[in-house]
């Protein structure tokens, strides 16, 4: 396949539930739709009972405006809800209240950093508010519907088809997710469906002048499956075009087990939703003062935070990017900094030893605040290493014990006598012992075999039970060996 002749064209639609206390159009409480017992968070409005009417949740409007502003969107002076009609049992009214020709936010962008060092701007076409549907569960002997989720505020964020690789889609999705989490409007948990991503995928040949048929992938529950589905679908399209078979417009699903897309249904004609303005709701007027008020509530967003970490703390772009990707991680880092620890050391230890430990223990980074090691305790460990009280290897051991017990680093070091040996006389004694035990090494070393220095130092460290200060050991040993030359 001549991949180089083809370009990937992807636009993403991201649906994010908003973390309001009540639903989009009624005072019905919003609950965790995965854990709450089915149909316990419902009211006449969210069930669409005859005669009920929607009332706009102002908090949802404000959260949506926050997102719009964070995505550099324009907030038009009016927005309007509309009815989108289709039949499905989990849609209580037979129409979804959404926004159509007057969305809440338009014409924004997000800049993303790609692994090749380039920065790309992904344009945001629009962001609009709507209500979520209930959840259908299909069992062997019928279908069940849980309406807890019906009416939960949902923000749909649509990009232009500016994404040209699975990697770019992933980076964009992660960044958008981080923004939502930073704003506190969504907890970013794709496994619970509170954030859902649908890529619209097509490919473009280098000789093309317009877009080719696209397919849409639904029900992706992780960023990993977003990445895989784009790779899979792109390859499928190229193959289909090159074989002459072509691509039919379709809605695809993602088979996680088989790691492939499957056709859910073909779309032969444009979908007919019979949109019209929602007569039960007034047009929403958004004053410039209101927009300014909302803008003033925006917290420091990931990109700005990363810039600050680079400019003020001297961190690398990569390190800063990793630290800000999860709001919880950034907060942990910033809380650690309050102890006065060296920022670069703290960043190195978080990105290195702490995250290695998380990987080994199967902990996700966003759960960092729930582990037994507090940010200040972790900073305390880094300070002990920086100050030479313990060496790096001991630090890793101490970290594991902190993770298991929640104890302070200093307490573990004291209790186990792990403080590193920087006393020159103790190190000298250890070097003498090593030389006495390995007389052949000394002869060979003095004969010019310099690379024996490493094993010799290892022995010394062994004699010191690993607690020797590597710098001191190195210096003392070099001095003693040099004294025997001549």
């Amino acid at each position: 396949m001549a991949h180089s002749e083809w370009k990937t064209i992807v636009g993403l639609e991201i649906h994010a539930e908003l973390l309001t206390e009540t639903k989009m159009f009624s005072a019905c409480p919003v609950v965790d739709s995965v854990t709450a017992p089915p149909n316990t968070a419902v009211d006449p409005v969210s069930l669409g009972l005859p005669g009920t009417l929607p009332v706009i949740n102002k908090r949802a409007l404000e959260m949506a405006m926050q997102v719009g502003l964070a995505l550099n969107c324009e907030i038009p002076p009016v927005n309007q809800f509309a009815r989108k009609s289709y039949f499905y049992p989990d849609l209580p009214k037979g129409y979804q209240i959404s926004q159509y020709d007057r969305p809440l936010a338009v014409n924004g962008y997000v800049d993303i950093d790609l692994s090749d060092g380039s920065t790309q701007r992904i344009r945001i076409r629009r962001a609009h508010l709507e209500e979520d549907t209930g959840k259908s569960m299909h069992t062997g002997d019928g279908s069940l519907i849980d309406y807890n989720r019906a009416g939960v505020p949902l923000l749909e964020i649509v990009t232009e088809p500016d994404i040209h690789s699975a990697e770019a889609a992933e980076v964009y999705a992660r960044q958008l997710r981080a923004i939502l989490v930073y704003l506190g409007v969504n907890d970013g948990d794709m496994s619970k469906g509170v954030m859902r991503i649908e890529p619209n995928i097509s490919v473009m040949h280098k000789d093309d002048t317009g877009y080719r048929t696209r397919t849409e992938v639904k029900n992706l529950n992780s960023i990993r499956s977003l990445f895989r589905s784009i790779e899979y679908e792109t390859a499928r399209h190229i193959k289909a075009w090159e074989s002459g078979e072509g691509v039919r417009q379709a809605t695809m699903g993602w088979d996680e087990a088989k790691q492939r897309t499957v056709v859910q249904r073909y779309k032969e004609s444009a979908e007919e939703y019979r949109y019209f303005p929602e007569p039960d709701l007034p047009i929403v007027e958004v004053s410039r003062e209101w927009v300014a008020e909302i803008r003033a509530t925006l917290p420091e967003l990931p990109i700005a935070k990363a810039e600050r970490f680079m400019n003020e703390l001297g961190l690398s772009r990569y390190d800063a990017g990793v630290l800000v990707a999860e709001r919880a991680v950034a907060e942990y880092f910033e809380q650690g900094l309050t102890t006065g620890v060296n920022a670069k050391s703290l960043a190195n230890w978080m990105l290195g030893q702490l995250f290695s430990l998380f990987n080994a223990r199967n902990i996700t980074r966003e759960d960092i605040a729930t582990t037994k090691i507090s940010a200040t305790q972790f900073a305390g460990l880094v300070k002990l290493v920086d100050g030479g009280t313990i060496n790096k290897a001991t630090g890793v051991t101490v970290l594991e014990e902190m993770y298991d017990t929640g104890a302070d680093a200093q307490a573990i070091v004291d209790a186990k006598g792990l403080a590193q040996i920087s006393d020159t006389s103790a190190v000298e004694a250890a070097v003498e012992q090593m030389l006495a035990e390995n007389p052949a090494w000394l002869t060979e070393y003095l004969g010019g075999k310099d690379k024996l220095f490493g094993p010799m130092m290892g022995k010394v460290m062994g004699i010191l039970k690993g607690q020797g200060n590597p710098a001191v050991v190195k210096e003392v040993m070099a001095k003693m060996l040099n004294a025997r030359k001549v």
Partner: protein, 486 residues
């Protein structure tokens, strides 16, 4: 006191207050009247006899304790399109057979809170679609003045019950004339308030931008008393206006000297029944005799009200009626699969007029037709509103016939939907403009059938309508006539 069912609401209230009659005897006599005559009239779909007597007993106790709520002990009936907790609410449709709501409409709740005695639920055209109540899926309601004639519709049960002394007042709803036209046909007062004056929460939607609940009563003063209770902003209805509710009784002075009454030339058309034109002109002459200034005006877009209405109302209805799918409430005809169940439930649950309007509305909203139909209709609707805005620069109230003809025989229009639609030509414009309109008895035709005078006021200017109607009523005897029941 010979027959309590001949009392007006205002008279009954005074007697209850003076404790010359008890709420219990008033309720019992009304229930007796229903038992004696509703077999022939067919106004009620559900009579809540036990509830009525319990409400009345509670009212008697409250009156004895000095309670003075405005509807205390007053027996009222409610159109079956208003949601009532625990009382079957069918909207005249088989698809809601057996549906007992879990919440009560705000307008009904306000009457309950004011102490009303609940008599039951009143017959209507299915989902308020019709002008004769012949579209009820349950029963025929006859006109108390002539049981061979229709009572009008869609609030036919509400009008017939008042005319037959089977309620001191009722709530109806009006989308294009459904309070005023049956009011005229049955010789009672029917008041459609301004759109947004009375909460729609719990009014099962037909045309959301048009539906209004309002009273049918024996006198204008009675209508004012009910409006006083049900009017006002409702946080559960975003289209209810937050404007102060005036003291409507203050308008009932009988003095209309200097009131400017507009007579629109477009409301006197070829083909209208001569008796209707004569009575209307006599009524206008009476207003002049009372000191009003009569001004000939023009509402130039009147002829477009009907076609515009039959695009907008069915379009809204097509979405509003999507929720009747057999999934959550009401009738379900289960065929074992989703689409089959939808088709069977809706196919068998809805009557032909409802289906006709769903199809009309679905078509008008379809892609490619939206601009030509729904979009254009909304533009013309703006012109209709402007007609009234301009008229009310010159006049305080408009006087016109309520209907072109008096009550027609059963079956007269059932084979010709368009002829049926023409029954509403004089009531549709005020609905499209959202302004208040009231039908007041103003005479009888040569067959002894009642004729209604329609009074139309500016938006939220119900006082003007009530003032003119009350003064007219004080000067005439029409409202004192009651039909002789078989």
């Amino acid at each position: 006191m010979t027959n309590l069912t001949e009392l007006t609401l205002t008279q009954a209230r005074a007697l209850l207050k003076k404790r010359e009659i008890s709420a219990t005897e008033l309720a019992q006599e009304t229930l007796d009247q229903i038992a004696a005559h509703d077999g022939a009239i067919g106004a009620y779909l559900t009579v809540t006899g036990e509830r009525a007597l319990a409400d009345a007993a509670a009212a008697d106790k409250a009156i004895a304790a000095g309670d003075d709520r405005p509807m205390l002990g007053i027996p009222l009936g409610i159109k079956d399109v208003l949601s009532t907790t625990g009382i079957e609410t069918t909207c005249g449709s088989k698809i809601l057979e057996g549906y007992k709501p879990v919440y009560t409409a705000t307008s009904v709740k306000k009457l309950e809170d004011a102490g009303m005695v609940m008599l039951g639920k009143l017959n209507m055209d299915e989902f308020a679609m019709g002008s004769s109540t012949e579209n009820s899926a349950y029963k025929r309601t006859t006109n108390p003045w002539n049981t061979g004639r229709v009572p009008g519709g869609s609030s036919g049960g509400s009008a017939a019950a008042v005319a037959a002394g089977m309620a001191l007042g009722t709530l109806g709803t009006d989308t294009g004339g459904s309070i005023r036209q049956p009011g005229a046909f049955c010789g009672v007062v029917g008041l459609k308030p301004s759109y947004g004056r009375v909460s729609r929460y719990g009014l099962v939607a037909f045309g959301s931008s048009l539906d209004v609940a309002g009273p049918l009563t024996k006198t204008v003063a009675d209508a004012a008393a009910i409006l006083q209770v049900i009017a006002g902003h409702d946080p559960l209805d975003a289209t209810s206006m937050d404007v102060p509710v005036p003291d409507y009784s203050a308008a009932l002075t009988g003095d209309i000297r200097g009131l400017r009454v507009g007579v629109p030339k477009e409301y006197f058309i070829d083909g209208m029944q001569p008796d209707v034109e004569r009575s209307t002109r006599e009524a206008i002459a009476q207003l002049k005799a009372l000191g009003a200034e009569i001004v000939e005006i023009s509402l130039p877009h009147t002829e477009y009200a009907l076609p515009v209405y039959y695009i907008i109302a069915p379009a809204e209805a097509s979405a509003n009626l999507a929720r009747y799918d057999g999934i959550r409430f009401g009738k379900r005809i289960d065929t074992g699969d989703m689409w089959g169940t939808y088709k069977a439930t809706r196919g068998q649950g809805f009557g032909s007029e409802v289906k006709r309007r769903i199809m009309l509305g679905t078509y008008a909203l379809s892609a490619g037709y939206y601009d030509a139909y729904y979009g254009k209709a909304q533009q013309v609707r703006t012109l209709l509103k402007r007609d009234f805005d301009e008229a009310f620069q010159q006049v305080d109230v408009i006087a016109a016939p309520t209907t072109p003809k008096t009550a027609f025989p059963f079956g007269a229009n059932t084979s010709d939907p368009l002829q049926m639609y023409l029954e509403d030509v004089f009531t549709l414009p005020a609905s499209m403009a959202g302004v208040p309109g009231m039908s007041v008895p103003c005479g009888f035709d040569q067959d002894g059938l009642p004729i209604g005078l329609q009074l139309i006021g500016p938006a939220f200017g119900e006082e003007n309508v009530l003032r003119a109607g009350h003064a007219y009523e004080q000067a005439t005897e029409w409202h004192r006539r009651v039909p002789v029941l078989g």
